[in-house]
């Protein structure tokens, strides 16, 4: 352990690293934390907490292999800890009635796909929903697995199951079929 005793750590480079990371990932983390928490304040706290802990770890010379996945995991665990502590997140069943349904969120211009509405009703498990949510935030399967404490293979299986449930639910309702008949000119998005 060859550190100069008593000297303050060099953090200028770390601060820039954190600023860059914040600008890239904060939106997604806040969105995800908002999904797991039930209020904005907790989600915001989770975001700040995740980045501050990242700063602490980096100040301690720790290398974090997958910063994005790590930040999501810390944010999630923070929210879950807050829920457990029940400090200001006591949610009874009645209050759920007043939570705005994202299916009708104004920022989506009122245009929510029939598929999305169907998804809310088809009974995806919480894990499946979280896997889908994290995939939406462009996390790799290994990162999703690290966030949720699963194996990477399990993540793939959960996503496949989610798709099967979606297909089953959509297939049962004929009037939703038009959403699936997208133009074949839509470009396939495969990562290079």
């Amino acid at each position: 352990m060859d550190r100069t005793p008593g000297s303050p750590p060099l953090t200028a480079g770390i601060e820039q690293e954190i600023v860059d990371l914040y600008e890239r990932e904060a939106v997604g983390i806040l969105r995800y934390a908002g999904a797991v928490a039930d209020n904005r304040e907790t989600a915001h706290d989770a975001l700040q907490e995740a980045f501050f802990r990242y700063f602490l770890c980096r100040s301690a010379g720790q290398q974090i292999r997958s910063p994005k996945g790590w930040l999501f995991r810390v944010a999630r665990n923070y929210v879950l800890d807050q829920k457990k502590a029940g400090s200001r997140n006591e949610v009874g069943m009645d209050s759920l009635l007043h939570v705005p349904c994202p299916a009708h969120h104004p920022e989506t211009d009122g245009r929510v796909s029939d598929l999305l509405q169907g998804l809310l009703q088809i009974g995806l498990s919480p894990r499946e929903i979280e896997c889908v949510q994290l995939r939406t935030e462009e996390l790799r399967y290994e990162e999703i697995a690290a966030v949720l404490g699963l194996q990477a293979g399990t993540v793939g299986a959960l996503l496949a199951r989610a798709h099967e449930k979606i297909r089953k639910a959509v297939g049962q309702d004929g009037r939703k079929n038009r959403d699936l008949a997208l133009p074949v000119t839509r470009e396939k998005r495969y990562a290079s």
Partner: protein, 299 residues
């Protein structure tokens, strides 16, 4: 008070090992008063053909399995990877010795070698690597007078055995191969004694945490091995009627258990660290509308 949950999962391996050992010792102590031993000196290092051989081999197999679990937690490049690799190989040598002893008889040279000097040498190399890492962090010091004194006992014992064998050889009596193999392990045992003292010293400096419990078991295993060798050598000099085989059987299982406790304690520490975080998504699902889990768009 012991709860059912204290015996669940691989992290409860130390408890299971101690429970098994306790039960076996109780049964063995009862049997030693009714069983007359043969008038032979058994080496403590190799597996025997006695009924306890299965328990010892089984314990060695558990030891090996736990070592492999521990090894997975130390990828290439980790400071203690080579130490645990050597400890795992030592466990493998004990298993091979036990299995071969059951198949081909305990007197086979390969059995004695695997269960004797080979596994001791691997263990000594592993502990040396461990001590080097501990020294880097300042937890291990130079050997002191007490360390040299205890090692001196092992050296004295080795010299006595060598002297006996030399006297027999000079008198023209044939020395069996198993005796030579057994003797080959004694100098390594001296080195192990010194390492055990240094490890003990490190444990005192560090404290009695989850990690150091395994090292305490390692120290105990080494001292029990030496004590067992000493006992089995001393007894025939004073009594031909004491059940030597039973003593041998009684001491081999605790030694195997002590060595099995080493990876068991490490696994328990690693599992304690990596236990899943509380609050899986299912916890949220209890009475919670899954709409809450869908993105809530920030305003």
């Amino acid at each position: 008070m012991m709860r059912k949950s204290d015996f669940e999962g691989i992290e409860s391996a130390p408890r299971w090992i101690l429970l098994f050992l306790g039960a076996n010792l109780a049964a063995g102590m009862l049997a030693v008063y009714v069983w007359h031993a043969a008038n032979l000196v058994f080496s403590i290092q190799a597996a025997s053909g006695s009924t306890s051989a299965l328990s010892v081999t089984g314990m060695a197999a558990v030891d090996l399995w736990l070592c492999l679990v521990v090894l997975r937690g130390f990828p290439a490049g980790a400071p203690l990877r080579s130490a645990w690799l050597l400890i795992t190989l030592a466990a493998a040598a004990r298993v091979v010795s036990g299995v071969m002893g059951s198949l081909s008889g305990s007197g086979a040279p390969a059995v004695l070698a695997a269960g004797g000097p080979i596994q001791l040498a691997l263990l000594a190399a592993g502990i040396f690597t461990l001590l080097r890492v501990l020294r880097r962090f300042g937890f291990c010091r130079e050997p002191g007078t007490a360390d040299w004194a205890v090692s001196g006992i092992a050296v004295l014992f080795t010299l006595c055995r060598l002297g006996e064998v030399a006297a027999e050889w000079l008198a023209g009596r044939p020395i069996p191969l198993e005796t030579w193999i057994s003797l080959a392990g004694l100098p390594i045992l001296c080195v192990l004694f010194l390492e055990a003292m240094l490890l003990r010293q490190s444990v005192v400096r560090i404290g009695n945490g989850l990690i150091t419990r395994g090292w305490v078991a390692l120290v105990c295993g080494i001292f029990l091995t030496g004590a067992g060798e000493l006992t089995l050598w001393v007894i025939p000099h004073y009594s031909q009627t004491l059940p030597l085989a039973m003593f041998g059987a009684l001491i081999r299982l605790p030694i195997a258990a002590a060595f099995a406790l080493v990876p068991a304690s490490q696994v328990a520490a690693q599992r304690r660290a990596t236990k899943p975080a509380n609050g899986q998504p299912e916890d949220l699902a209890g009475g919670t509308d899954h709409r809450l889990l869908w993105p809530v768009m920030p305003r």
